[in-house]
């Protein structure tokens, strides 16, 4: 066991702990001294203007972006250059993307079973069985043999959620999951996410859907300029925001 593992064992309820995280793109300082710890089963919504670093932050958690300073510990494993650690964390952390990123050359079912078979080393039978169960949960089991290109955007995003869940992750990251959807399809995806939240999954969601945030979030984080400006429970966040920046943001998105 590493030191890091021993450290985080002290606090059983923490699943992600980020401290003094800094990230640069070239000379651009994208994330500044981010401290964040996420408890098991906690639902966190991250919002903020575009370019504020929200997506970069969650993409650091599964190392799609490499940070330069600070530490990220996920489920007792520290993220560093060790490829073994990276793949270990990636198989524990599921991610849903804005543009779905389904594999267009594979059927819906194959999309869901590829990683469980090759990364988790499950048998094909077992993987198929679990995939069908999850596709039923997101209410598209009848599309299992179709290709992603034959589905609507909302259906594709629900497949993407099922695909991530097939790895049996302990944390789910959502990077603006409804931003690329037609208005009529946002609801079906949000409903799936709400059900997932109710099942007790730890979730970090970057979104502009304030209704969803209000309903599901245990904590809302507001970011701007690569910093965490404010974090509060939804009640306080919407009704009594602490920071003037938050107030401005809320007035921009809510007043019309």
């Amino acid at each position: 066991m590493t030191n890091n593992q021993a450290e985080t064992m002290n606090d059983d309820s923490t699943i992600i702990s980020i401290s003094k995280l800094n990230k640069w793109y070239g000379n651009f300082h994208a994330l500044k001294d981010i401290d964040l710890s996420v408890n098991k089963t906690e639902k966190i919504v991250i919002c903020g203007p575009s370019g504020s670093g929200k997506s970069t932050l969650i993409r650091c958690i599964n190392r799609l972006e490499v940070h330069q300073e600070g530490s990220i510990i996920v489920d007792g494993v520290e993220l560093n250059d060790d490829v073994k650690h990276i793949n270990e964390i990636r198989s524990e952390v599921g991610m849903v993307f804005q543009h779905f990123n389904l594999f267009p050359h594979l059927t819906v079912l194959e999309n869901c079973t590829l990683a469980p078979i090759w990364v988790r080393k499950k048998s094909r039978n077992e993987a198929n069985h679990m995939a069908m169960e999850l596709l039923e949960k997101v209410r598209i089991p009848d599309q299992a043999d179709k290709y992603p290109g034959q589905l609507s955007g909302g259906q594709q995003q629900r497949v993407a959620i099922a695909r991530a869940l097939c790895m049996q992750p302990r944390v789910m990251l959502f990077d603006e999951p409804t931003s690329a959807l037609d208005p009529e399809m946002i609801k079906e995806v949000l409903e799936t996410m709400i059900e997932l939240a109710e099942s007790g999954m730890t979730m970090i969601v970057v979104t502009h859907e304030m209704g969803f945030a209000n309903k599901v979030a245990d904590r809302i984080i507001f970011m701007d300029e690569g910093q965490i400006v404010e974090q509060n429970d939804p009640e306080t966040f919407f009704n009594n925001p602490e920071s003037d920046r938050t107030k401005l943001f809320l007035s921009q998105i809510l007043d019309h």
Binding site: N62, L64, R90, M95, H99, N101, P104, L114, G149, A164
Partner: protein, 374 residues
């Protein structure tokens, strides 16, 4: 409120107006749509009328098929002399060794039958166990080919490969070039996009070097220089040297074709597979390459077609491929003067195989196209 709501009703779908569909409409819009369009159409019809009937007369109606020497053709100069092709057919297909040893002709014939016997089922969608057919074609078949065509074992007389020729040689060179260049090209394309500087620079230097050198130079160098790099005991025959030269050259082109496909793949694909915990090779094999190769099918096949035709350059090192042997035959004493027939025959054979590759690649593209909505 509810009582004021108007119920939405979908109108039934109707067919398009009849003057916009059917062949009459197609002819009207596409052939005679405007004045200039009409003029071009008429001009093309006129040229077809001018040149096609005389050609058909020469190539078929007045052509000579009978006899076994040039006397038939010399008497009837108005038609093509296919007698020549008929008499020299063995040589054109299999080269000098097998044409002068007719009792050995069964060897390349069996090899050809074996090749197409494996290849054609592979191209048919419904064939079962395709994977095993392909593995047989790539592993067992080359050994079988070497045993039976080259000989020298099991009492089969040794046929000197430098005496192979015609379609047999063209085919052998193209097959080896394609089969070896594809995996090499894929590795080079991946290498060129690698984040490891050494791998990346090696790939770039390799690709740019071979791509920037004419194939004739490479073949010539392979023939003259390759022996210098090996200890004096090691000797390759000319055909093997040509194969090495062609493979090195072809892999650079294939690499660039594959790289085009790799570049077209959205970054989200590798991000999604990374997020699922897949390693580099898993991503590459399951996610990136299947999509990239699909996109690059037209350009890969393009390089293969070019290779198939480029094999005729081996005549520079004294090998008698289909084109060269056709040319030589038409300049022999027996058939001097019948070059047009020789070149036309070689051209048609090349065209059949190149067009076949092109057709198959188009079918493959359609089959692999999963992006369409249904």
């Amino acid at each position: 409120m509810a009582s004021n709501t108007i119920k939405f009703e979908k109108l039934p779908d109707r067919l398009p107006p009849s003057n916009t569909v059917g062949w009459m409409a197609w002819v009207k819009t596409n052939l005679f749509g405007s004045i200039s369009n009409t003029l071009i159409t008429l001009l093309v019809f006129y040229l077809i009328f001018l040149y096609i009937p005389p050609f058909i007369e020469w190539a078929f109606i007045n052509a000579n098929f009978s006899g076994s020497d040039r006397s038939v053709c010399d008497e009837n100069k108005a038609g093509a002399c296919w007698t020549f092709v008929k008499v020299r057919f063995d040589q054109l297909l299999f080269g000098l060794y097998f044409a002068t040893n007719p009792d050995q002709m069964w060897r390349p014939i069996i090899a050809f039958i074996g090749f197409f016997g494996l290849l054609i089922p592979l191209m048919i969608d419904k064939t079962p166990h395709k994977k095993w057919l392909l593995i047989t074609l790539l592993t067992i078949f080359p050994v079988f080919f070497l045993l039976i065509v080259r000989g020298g074992v099991f009492g089969i007389p040794d046929s000197d490969p430098s005496q192979w020729g015609g379609l047999l040689l063209t085919f052998t060179l193209a097959f080896v070039g394609i089969i070896l260049a594809l995996p090499l090209g894929i590795l080079l394309a991946l290498g060129r996009r690698s984040k490891m500087p050494v791998v990346k620079s090696f790939s770039i230097i390799y690709i740019e070097f071979w791509r920037g050198t004419p194939l004739i130079t490479i073949l010539f160098m392979a023939s003259v220089m390759l022996p210098l790099f090996f200890p004096s005991g090691v000797e390759f025959d000319k055909v093997v040297r040509a194969m090495i030269g062609i493979t090195l050259f072809q892999s650079a082109y294939t690499a660039e074709a594959v790289r085009g496909g790799l570049q077209a793949i959205d970054k989200g694909q590798s991000e999604a597979s990374m997020a699922l915990g897949m390693g580099y090779w898993q991503q590459t094999i399951f996610i990136i390459l299947p999509q990239a190769l699909k996109i690059s099918i037209p350009s890969i096949v393009n390089t293969f077609i070019a290779l198939f035709k480029d094999t005729s350059l081996v005549s520079i090192i004294g090998l008698l491929d289909l084109l060269k042997i056709a040319q030589n035959s038409s300049r022999s004493l027996d058939w001097n003067g019948y070059d047009i027939e020789a070149y036309m025959f070689a051209g048609i054979v090349f065209w059949i195989f190149c067009f076949g590759m092109s057709m198959y690649s188009q079918r493959l593209e359609k089959k692999l196209d999963t992006d369409r909505r249904e």
